[in-house]
Symmetry: C3
């Protein structure tokens, strides 16, 4: 099933509109190209008006959030909603600052998102208003709590029911749920957290999978999660002596470029919960 | 001839002022350093005032265009004109949005650019006001039309005559013309389109070549086109098993760093048309 | 001693708040992750208010300076001062434009910085108001003058006394001083100047070292300077045939990831002056 999702992405070459941050925009663009889609970054309201309707999906990422781009996000979300274009929200740093938490909540209040993806701290902050002292990474206390997968699943399902979105909570085990069907995915490597933008890349790739698989959003998200996880494992296993996090990042994009549905199906490890 | 252009660049180490986008600023800066020039990115009007006059050339790139930086572009272009500093315009996404198309046209109306570089869709949009549904890449219909190299040459020559600029249209065959002399260049690899910023890199490098070869702008542009094309071919040929687009990007900058006039002259393939 | 500084960093995993430029934000984030700290980039005043207090140190970098982010810098500096969080200023391009020089001076006037790091041209501009025609790189005349290490030390000490900050002047020999104790450090490779952001990375890493070694700021800065220098040498020595500046950049981050206190102590070359 998830192999087909990847084949669909490769065939449709979805154009993904990203309103995103300047730290990881480059690696996200390269990840989108590697997996077979096309990125277009545009964040000025006047620009967004014409760009969003051209695209197969919309990726909103709150990293380095600035007031200047919030109206663009609102405009793009509205347009995407009207046109039936899937919208993903990546609330980077929600919980760490009220500005990011409130911007995320206000976007969610004003339009139904198709997908919301975050780490455990970000999703908790949006669901229950809890603060996160871990910056853009999950807080240590949350990571400990996340060892109890069932609690993470409950949070994800409740947040999915509340928002109407497919919810992805990333962690050692990644959870994908639309509130009814729930998947737990097990691929990945801790090295992911040593490369800036690993989370942003998942948001970008999930947007591309969603754009090419609109009728099956939970499975599109699962496919994205498994694709990045499998590529991460393969990238890590190819590291040679004396190599480290930068070689891993190069390998990771290379793997996204080289993966196919057969490799993905054979290596993905997930369960329906 | 183009080997001499590269030697001049390496000797003069031109400082290139870039007003550019946050997606590809890093790889463009690294490309400029690798080829032997120095980048300086500055996009605040007050900053631009002092920076442009220090520089050998000016590179204006409309990717992730924001209203905040348009006055900087206008100011920098005016200063560069007065000081005889070559100015290159890279109208990323012209045709995809009216905001980018109109900003490009307004910049062109207000000052003579030395060089305008775009893909077929971008140049058509600026010449004839045609829309592009392909985002920042050339539209499929335009790519098909571009197989007819003669039509691309005619467009390039007409646009050069209209604007007074040396025009570069990138594609499978790259065209460089000042409206009188025309070059068609054949180096390159499709892998280029799998790395974000390959087009922006050409704009950056062409600015550096122009800064070091002011009396010979069409040939400086040809040298830039051939340099990137030759380096692309060599970067591709060095890819090992399991490597992909990120390794290619690393190889490409490495090749820009290592190329010399002999390698360039021996491998460049172009014709006068 | 400097080995202990690195061990402290690895144990404390300091969160570093960066208000920085869009050219080198990505590689700085990756350098911070590789060395064992966590980056958080935030530059909107409302965001900064909540982010700075979460962090172990604050890194202010003036590359691609925009008026939009100056109030964030002021706010973050004020907060960090109140909370005793070390603040590093990297006045990229000071001397090249009045806008950057004056912004740097105004920040310094309004709050005591813990660390100010720049090349010889930048520090001269801030100390004596001298102009720099070299853009963001040191001017040629300044580089020649810098061969006289004693003159650089005198400048660094005077600037340290004037500002109350630990001053780092980078060059072939790197100088670190608090006005009383002075260190001269000799590691490094000219290849550093072929990668955009080598200087910014030092600012980022020195912020991380400072955050984990507050009682010993001059030694924390020396440890940062030596770490980057040693990693640069090792990255350069691992280059294979046909590789160049991009492979060097990958190797450099890999080395930051792999370095430990033993490697650092064995390879660091510095003197007390």
């Amino acid at each position: 099933m998830i192999g087909t999702m990847l084949d669909n992405l490769r065939n449709e070459k979805p154009l993904v509109h990203c309103i995103t941050n300047y730290v990881t925009a480059n690696i996200c663009a390269n990840a989108l190209l590697a997996i077979g889609s096309s990125p277009i970054m545009a964040d000025e309201p006047e620009d967004v008006r014409d760009i969003t309707p051209l695209c197969s999906s919309l990726n909103i990422n709150l990293g380095t959030l600035s007031k200047r781009t919030i109206p663009s996000m609102q405009e793009a979300v509205k347009t995407a909603r009207l046109k039936g274009i899937p919208i993903l929200l990546d609330p980077v740093g929600a919980g760490a600052s009220r500005f990011r938490t409130e911007t995320a909540l206000s976007l969610i209040d004003n339009a139904e998102f198709s997908i919301i993806k975050g780490n455990i701290s970000e999703i908790k902050a949006l669901f229950a208003g809890e603060k996160n002292a871990g910056g853009v990474d999950a807080a240590q206390s949350d990571l400990t709590a996340a060892k109890d997968t069932q609690r993470v699943i409950t949070l994800a399902k409740n947040f999915a029911k509340k928002t109407g979105a497919v919810v992805i909570i990333t962690g050692e085990t990644d959870i994908v749920t639309d509130g009814k069907k729930t998947y737990a995915a097990f691929n990945g490597t801790p090295m992911m957290s040593k490369v800036t933008g690993a989370g942003c890349m998942l948001g970008a790739i999930a947007s591309a999978f969603a754009g090419a698989n609109k009728p099956h959003l939970p499975e599109a998200c699962l496919a994205a999660v498994c694709t990045l996880g499998v590529c991460g494992e393969r990238a890590f296993s190819r590291l040679k002596e004396n190599e480290g996090s930068a070689s891993f990042a190069v390998n990771l994009i290379d793997e996204l470029y080289n993966i196919n549905s057969k490799i993905l199906e054979e290596n993905a490890r997930y369960e329906i919960r």
